[in-house]
Symmetry: C2
Subunit: 138 residues, 2 copies
DNA sequence: ATTGACCTTGCCATTGTGGGAAGGTGCAGA
DNA sequence: TCTGCACCTTCCCACAATGGCAAGGTCAAT
């Protein structure tokens, strides 16, 4: 199976498949005489695993660890769960940050008349004449 | 005021101040004889505005627009509010995506015993033997 | 033999930030 | 005055993930 078909089958673009090979996330694919990459069912399985992990927001580094655990007969489910929970915590942190931004900006927007006049608490707050406090991330 | 002090005063790193100058987000700073950049209160005010906008998650492109609106006497608060609400919608979209990931992964982790045995629904789900459906983003 | 769809490598762009090297400046203390 | 340190300058590299483009090779069907 050549790379385009593998891409369709797994939902990982050909570009990214090559990239994952380059960074060592997947082993170098077999080559035909034409030098075209050739993918087996086993390869597709691995790529599918990677795509699903990416869909869950795992980073490349985390996926590297997941792949190791996947291939490790002696691993315990505790190891996998720990990794997953770390990622859940990361997701929650990101969500919290974004939600603070959302809340602050929503408050500012609520306080803004949104009419033809120039007065605007949003701009004033950004400008530092601050009645409405802005949250301080990082 | 030289760049390090300006950085401390505004919370924007010297590195980023130079970068913002390079991409034209702030005008080129005045220079002393030494070629050191020299910042006025006016400059600090602009940098502070930028930092607060970044803290609210606005992109550089959006901040560019906000700065235009800031300096525009004839703008209406409607224009600012519209921009802010677009950004709120972006934030909400990101939050929604992350929260789907969080929920899916939390379900998987709940279904995982997390003990010494190797059987793990998380890995199995990633591997595609899927009883528990994974969400399909993009 | 030509066309068109696919593949190959390689380089550039994005977004926002940090790191570091190599060298200039400015001030304070011996 | 010389030395050292802290700061500044520019320039290049890196990250994570992805896309795009260009110049060329391959293959199947016409």
């Amino acid at each position: 199976m050549q790379i385009g078909e593998a891409a369709k089958a797994t939902g990982v673009s050909a570009k990214m498949i090559r990239h994952y090979e380059f960074i060592g996330l997947v082993p170098a694919a077999d080559r035909r005489d034409s030098n075209y990459r050739d993918y087996s069912h086993h390869d597709l399985h691995r790529l599918g695993f990677i795509r699903r992990a990416r869909d869950l927001g795992f980073s490349i580094a985390e996926i590297r660890d997941l792949l190791k655990l996947w291939g490790d007969q002696s691993r315990s489910s505790k190891d996998v769960k720990a990794l997953a929970l770390v990622h859940v915590a990361e997701l929650e942190k990101k969500i919290r940050l974004l939600d603070e931004m959302r809340a602050t900006l929503t408050h500012l927007a609520d306080a803004c008349d949104g009419d033809h006049r120039p007065d605007c608490p949003i701009i004033e707050s950004l400008a530092g004449r601050d009645g409405l406090k802005l949250s301080q991330h990082h």
